[in-house]
Assembly symmetry: C2
Homo-oligomer: 432 residues x 2
Amino acid sequence: MAIWLDQTSDDFEARFKAFLSTKREVSDDVNDIVRKIIDDVRQRGDAALADYSRRFDGIDFDTLPMRVTEQEIDEAYRSISPELLAALELAASRIERHHARQMPKDDIYEDAIGVGLGSRWTAIDAVGLYVPGGTASYPSSVLMNALPAKVAGVPRVVMVCPATGGAINPTVLAAARIAGVTEIYRIGGAQAVAALAYGTETIEPVAKIVGPGNAYVAAAKRHVFGTVGIDMIAGPSEVLVIAEPDNDPDWLAADLLAQAEHDPGAQSILITTDRAFGKAVEEAVERQLKSLNRAETASASWRDFGAIILVKTMDDSIPLANRIAAEHLELAVADPEPLVKAILNAGAIFVGRHTPEVIGDYVGGSNHVLPTARSARFSSGLSVLDYVKRTSILRLGPEQLRQLAPAAIALANSEGLDAHARSVAIRLNLEG
Amino acid sequence: MAIWLDQTSDDFEARFKAFLSTKREVSDDVNDIVRKIIDDVRQRGDAALADYSRRFDGIDFDTLPMRVTEQEIDEAYRSISPELLAALELAASRIERHHARQMPKDDIYEDAIGVGLGSRWTAIDAVGLYVPGGTASYPSSVLMNALPAKVAGVPRVVMVCPATGGAINPTVLAAARIAGVTEIYRIGGAQAVAALAYGTETIEPVAKIVGPGNAYVAAAKRHVFGTVGIDMIAGPSEVLVIAEPDNDPDWLAADLLAQAEHDPGAQSILITTDRAFGKAVEEAVERQLKSLNRAETASASWRDFGAIILVKTMDDSIPLANRIAAEHLELAVADPEPLVKAILNAGAIFVGRHTPEVIGDYVGGSNHVLPTARSARFSSGLSVLDYVKRTSILRLGPEQLRQLAPAAIALANSEGLDAHARSVAIRLNLEG
């Protein structure tokens, strides 16, 4: 049973507000543990990594090297079924082609008075990619995080992945190989984040760390932020489906459950105009739930955070969708374009009935790392831009300096910064 | 006396490494106080703001309204000298023109098999700009933070600025008016950040908060991050000057001091090939220091963090500059282009002897909010991109779905996500 919200009821605004501010994440306070692990890795390097990997993952680096060998990667690649390999390769080529269009262009120019100005984009030197172990170890995530780095021209992409008992999911290794990642270490947790940020005897430090992880990994990323860059800290996934009542309830139920099966904190929301249709979708969800592998996860998510919102007209969905600012927005309507135009806050929009969100998870070509928890109001999904940085370039000759000097000196003096004023004035024999 | 590092000495690498990791910021642990203030503002709204402003700024909102009136802004604007006003307006028009070139373009296209893909950029709804009070209240910062938001098309830009005794620097108000900011509140500290993030009776919440501030403001921004977006947390400023020995030592000394006067934690570094020239610059620094308003700040910065690095050839400066990754990089050399090309890690590069960094602080046109503390390795200065967000758009018809379905289903199954597989399969009557 999902929660129902009806726009025509008097308490709708209050209930919608409360709904928006529902916390879906259990945030264990793991900061103290994480800080200790990071300090230990900074001090003892590889020895600390060996200890933690023995304790948490049951691996002994004396018998199995920390770095995954080329041979292991090749073997994993060859062990994958041809069908799955073809799927990974199709996904990779579509992701690569789409992301290649995102590469920002340098803009170097001279203005009307001859000042040279420029914005120059260059790739980050080295990036670390965290890949979770166990059931959250998704090959699709490897492609989504590593390929934009390759497109950006990052010369060194390092992957870390915990390997309980020494084993890393072979499909993950195959995905890494397809994405061109060859430097892979079987380490995980806060210790892996620390190793990427500060380096050890074996691992050179990187400049930025990306990729999903559990509460320890997230806390470690927050902790090392500043020393290195980090991507967003992703929360549980969410989908908002806006649907006219003439859809097949089973299609939409499948879409809602595709989010719900990710995490008990995931959220699936349907907005529609018709109560009977909403009921039919709800019934389809209950029916389909029974046959899922991950029925327990999906039903917890649907029970605790699922929602069906009734609006008077389809247009009434627009302001609500902008306030929800969903990570994924599906528009299951006959004429989606007006909604696409009007809904500005969404990580990704899936347009029309034949675009289930799942296509975007794997083979659409766009990135599946998207802003969660309403952060689409102010942030964007992962892209090539996350792997480059911009340097401003300014170039004046004596004549341009002469023209701009009086204003610069006036502003410096008004701010009480007289060394600033002097640095301009001294070049022109002016009074600072 | 600055620290000297000589590339020809045996312990250079070790000393350079230690130099790179020197902490320049005193980070008071203010988290507990900040958390309490934020909770209080969330609970009591305007009443909490009134209490804190009475206590910290000596203002009574019963006699002076929290919101700065239009009349006050007009009066401030009219009180500015014509010379300073012209300087502000020149700066604003140059900043606006440069930033207009940064607006990213939408990219909506159809691929070879007819899949519609798109990257759409839209402005953030509402942005809050923090402006410090007192001597750190810089009108140039108002222009640098507010104008890119205006260029991006942000419909609502709100400014907060603490006003000890009720007064806000009139030049700051004039800069706000020039930048088109009219919603201004005389509040500051963690309480102002909380009000922007969560809203009060008077202040509607924003989606992102930018602008510099003290340790309390920085901690508050970290705290509300997630609920709203934030810009980078800037550390003390820094400049790296790479200079051939035929420069006028006084010019470079003035540039080094222009950074040093900002903050005792600021850092000024000279790299050159000639010891005698380094000595001459050092002497010029000592001489110029004596006549500065802010001599105390500048000499503390130069004494504690200033550095002169001797290299064998100018080319040897390249790897060092890339490791330092300075916020500001000045190239006082006759032929700067090869260095511009080779130095990839820098917030902004000031090319040639007639481009003192100070021009970039005020009237160059590029932004003066730049990555500090070596973060130019992985991040960029403030730009229009900080005020927009990208939505991915994906659109398939039945034929495209049919073509991509097998790969999506194979990947979903390999990840054990059967609701994902079903959401695709059900639309084509396939087996999930």
